[in-house]
């Protein structure tokens, strides 16, 4: 069974590697965005699908990752000349972006750990956890909207307009040479690499004894606790990992559009992430990507064809899938496989 998974995974990855050869630049860019949102959905699936904690706060880590990346990358690499208020011109001096990437992951992890410590050790769970994480996201959104002229380093935060001219991710050897991933294909491959890596890491975690404890917590918290597991600690760790993934997704998003704004902390992004995970199939990991892909693809397609009614149709699709296939698309696929096995 494991072999089949690996082979399919390999074929799928190869397919994604080949895609830019047949797609136009526009679609490669869109595909990158889909993958980035897939990582965000993956971060939610790890905490919700596997551990049973519904977090509305993925947007907080997503935005924090994006903002951290933008601010550190611009401070380290750019000459910024402020014209007035938050309008500025930027001269990119180049260099590698390892530090911004690292901080863009680290800060969300710290936020998640601190938040997890206070919430899980105070035994906040269920709906209350949802509400608190949602509030945190909205608070961060309000803060970033209010901070217009305030600067971190020499970068104005820009309030509602956000931060623009954020440099693309660039790799290389620090101080020797660097290569900026400006081309859509290059950036796409980097995002693909990050997606595959996160998926493999999550799969490894979920297959380890640690992963079995996560599902044990989801299935029966009290039983797990009375076997001597400190469930608060496990929840905190998985929340931190999920924060790291959401942060990674945020910084990739920021680099993708060279732009980050308070939209990243938006309620709708967090809510959409939940829909992606639901549609793809909760607790399947790969389903997070499937859901994010399918939903965004449909959104793109429908909003082209039906300028006014596409939202209505999306709503109907969501309701139908959630009502008829509560286990999502991966649930359907796994179900078919199982019935095939039984009949043969």
């Amino acid at each position: 069974m494991r072999k089949i998974f690996k082979n399919k995974f390999l074929i799928l990855s190869l397919g994604f590697i080949a895609l830019p050869l047949i797609l136009s630049t526009y679609y490669v860019n869109i595909l990158s965005l889909f993958l980035i949102m897939g990582i965000l959905a993956l971060s939610l699936d790890l905490i919700w699908g596997y551990t049973g904690i519904l977090s509305f706060g993925q947007g907080a880590f997503f935005g924090l990752g994006g903002y951290t990346y933008a601010i550190t990358a611009m401070n380290l690499m750019c000459n910024v000349e402020i014209r007035y208020l938050s309008h500025y011109t930027v001269i990119n001096q180049g260099g590698t972006t390892y530090i911004p990437i690292l901080l863009g992951i680290l800060l969300p992890v710290i936020l998640a750990t601190v938040l997890g410590y206070f919430l899980f050790y105070a035994r906040v769970s269920g709906v209350y956890f949802c509400i608190i994480t949602l509030s945190l996201t909205l608070i961060l959104q309000q803060i970033t909207m209010q901070l217009v002229e305030h600067q971190i380093g020499n970068i104005p935060l820009g309030g509602f307009n956000g931060i623009t001219y954020v440099p693309r991710i660039s790799i290389g050897i620090p101080l020797l040479f660097y290569y900026s991933l400006d081309g859509p294909n290059h950036f796409y491959y980097f995002v693909l690499f990050c997606s595959v890596l996160s998926l493999i890491i999550c799969k490894k975690i979920c297959n380890s004894p640690f992963g079995s404890i996560l599902t044990a917590i989801r299935d029966n918290e009290i039983r797990t606790e009375s076997f001597g597991y400190d469930i608060r600690k496990y929840k905190m760790i998985v929340f931190a990992i999920s924060g790291a993934l959401a942060g990674l997704s945020g910084l990739l998003y920021c680099s993708w559009g060279s732009f980050i704004s308070p939209w990243a902390f938006d309620f709708f992004l967090s809510a959409e992430t939940i829909i992606w995970v639901l549609i793809g199939g909760k607790g399947t990991l790969i389903g997070a990507f499937v859901g994010a892909f399918l939903t965004q693809f449909l959104e793109n397609l429908l909003s082209d064809i039906l300028i006014y009614y596409w939202l209505l149709i999306m709503g109907v699709v969501f309701i139908v899938i959630v009502l008829l296939f509560p286990k999502g698309i991966m649930g359907i696929i796994y179900g078919l496989k199982r019935s095939n096995l039984k009949s043969s």
């Binding site: 380890s208 004894p209 044990a216 009375s226 076997f227």
Partner: protein, 243 residues
């Protein structure tokens, strides 16, 4: 081994457990009986840390465990089987037993590791004891009530507890199933100390040597079965004939 001193738990003025002084020797198989609402399950919850006492102390192996968290108490070897079967409904039997086995055998759980062969062996051993070997791959939620009870007993066994708390292990079982449960419990009583809450007097006759009768949150009387059966007060509380 286990001692409670003046243990009291109040819920909004109602004393579920009232000034309870309980003493347990190592290696005992002790039964607690008593009418509904006499505080038996509350007593278990206090020992296992799920409830904090209003007053009094719990001492286990010369250590005060009154204010420890449930998982810390479990780590000290007090493992509880709940009244309603409390297993992982969506897991297979194998996975159910894996959760307690791996913490017992490996202690620290690390990311990215695989569970060792020892865990697999341990699981097979337990399945042998609770006689569910042929259902290893079945999902726990689809087991019969009795089998679920055995599975949970098996899971507590995997922890190799030094004190096992069994809350009505035979509730809802048929006569044959009860017999088998008694067999299992007699088997494990050689290696561990056990406290059982039970109503089934037939079952108690088969396993227990010492009985405590609880009434209104405190101990009414203690002693071997014959003495309890002939005690006037015990009959009164069970038949509701208050003097």
């Amino acid at each position: 081994m286990l001692e409670t001193k003046g243990l009291t738990k109040e819920f909004d003025g109602f004393r579920a457990v009232d000034n309870l002084n309980f003493y347990l020797e190592k290696g005992e198989l002790h039964c607690i009986i008593g009418p509904n609402g006499s505080g038996k399950t509350t007593f278990f919850s206090l020992i296992s840390g799920f409830l904090k006492p209003t007053n009094g102390d719990i001492i286990f192996n010369n250590e005060k465990i009154t204010n420890l968290m449930p998982h810390q108490i479990a780590q000290r070897g007090i493992i509880r089987k709940f009244q309603v079967p409390n297993v992982y409904n969506f897991f297979t039997l194998h996975e159910n037993l894996k959760i307690p086995s791996q913490i017992k055998l490996e202690g620290k759980i690390l990311l990215f590791t695989r569970s060792s062969i020892k865990v697999g062996k341990k699981i097979d051993e337990i399945l042998e004891i609770i006689q569910l070997k042929d259902k290893k791959k079945e999902v726990a939620g689809e087991l019969s009530h009795g089998e679920m009870q055995w599975l949970e007993i098996g899971m507590t066994l995997a922890m190799e507890p030094s004190l096992l708390l069994l809350d009505e292990p035979t509730a809802g079982m048929t006569r044959d199933e009860t017999k088998k449960t008694a067999e299992i419990i007699r088997g494990i009583s050689n290696v561990t100390t056990i406290i059982i809450i039970e109503h089934d007097i037939q079952f108690i006759r088969e396993v227990s040597r010492k009985i405590t009768v609880m009434h209104n949150g405190s101990i009414l009387t203690e002693g071997p079965l014959e003495q309890i059966e002939n005690d006037e007060r015990v009959r009164n509380v069970y038949l509701g004939k208050e003097k």
